[in-house]
Symmetry: C2
Subunit: 268 residues, 2 copies
Amino acid sequence: MKDAIGIVPGLAVILVGSRKDSQTYVRNKKACEAVGIQSFEVNLPEDSSEEEVIKHIASFNSDPSVHGILVELPLLRHMNDESILNAVGIEKDVDGFHPLNIGRLAMQGRDPFFVPCTPKGCMELLHRYGVEIKGKRAVVIGRSNIVGMPAALLLQKANATVSIVHSQTKNPEEITRQADIVIAAVGVANLVRGNWIKPGAAIIDVGINPVDDPESPRGYRLVGDVCYEEASKVAGAITPVPGGVGPMTIAMLLANTLESAKRIHNFK
Amino acid sequence: MKDAIGIVPGLAVILVGSRKDSQTYVRNKKACEAVGIQSFEVNLPEDSSEEEVIKHIASFNSDPSVHGILVELPLLRHMNDESILNAVGIEKDVDGFHPLNIGRLAMQGRDPFFVPCTPKGCMELLHRYGVEIKGKRAVVIGRSNIVGMPAALLLQKANATVSIVHSQTKNPEEITRQADIVIAAVGVANLVRGNWIKPGAAIIDVGINPVDDPESPRGYRLVGDVCYEEASKVAGAITPVPGGVGPMTIAMLLANTLESAKRIHNFK
């Protein structure tokens, strides 16, 4: 794209109250460098006002060298600050979290501008490893706006028969056992045991949960929502934690940024 | 509302290529009269251009005595004419079909401006008849943008464990048999047989299908997606066709129009 039309895809990250050495940030920046995407960044203190954040978003919205905008808010604000996330221009919302994007994702005959990165990564894993989706039973465990719900919508659009299991579900193990495909995105360490799994099923584990581990130098280790040791003996395919879905999320963020640059410049 | 603040809720209907004596139209108009909602109407020929339709929508969008706008397009156009339906101002989209509305319906922590009328009517039936939803298994048969998909999202928001069954589902009867609540919205006469139903389940039948009936003066009669004769012997509750969901859709359209007028005039 750079050679053909002189355009370099650009990704802008607005960090609110995150340390510049935060793992996600460093990882995203390195990934951009590796594939030739230009990084932009703004670092704002945690006590920044909504107006300040929105001012920076607006400036990236109108900056022609920026094709994707990511706002990293502290978790609690992230869940509530609708107006901040809504300020990101929908044509640069590479996170795909805007309700208009989600609506288009849900509807037959419409397509979202961007598919949210983590669910997109789950689908890419299924496609790359040749897991058939059409006509299969799929269970999504968890119904968050950023993973579970959009993952269920994507599986449904790919013609799976989808059930969503959540905290109010009475017999999650029984329903999960019917699934040919399981996406676990609930944030509970080792929730999904071996006896929840249908033999041969494909398991995508989105959870990244710290559990105490005195033998680890950090005092903890990361495990998924799926008890890997048990499930790997029953499943036909399973993603590890760490690894697995995590790196896919970053790859899909880069893919969305490239897609955005192509769309904005009508480059095929 | 009329007495308190002098505002009469208004519903505008734009008919494209429908006869003025169409059943739906006459029924809606009578219903508006019965509850004191003011009706507005525009009748356009089937060969009207997109621009003409949008011109009328724009005029209702800016008319302060109109609080809800309904566009009745011929079926084939209805499915495709995204730009016509998108032209309806989201604060007057009492159909609730705008993708932004659907996105807000799908997301935790967000609410749609309007809940689409037929799925809203299904939920109202469940509430009025005291059918518990939270923690129950629900199966939605069909995944249309106007009924199945939003109904599944509503049941999920009400904390049911929801599965969507569709044309690509391999064992629909087996999955449906697990459900405490079934919403059938697929448009296939008598698809759901008695042996698909869990004893005691609540069945909402959205289908309205004409089947040949030489004994009827019209030569046909209307049946649902559920075989009522069989299912009513097994179910704990079941809606009839005709009747049942149909009148609820109209009632919810009136309710959405009132809700819109209240919101626009900040009337509690």
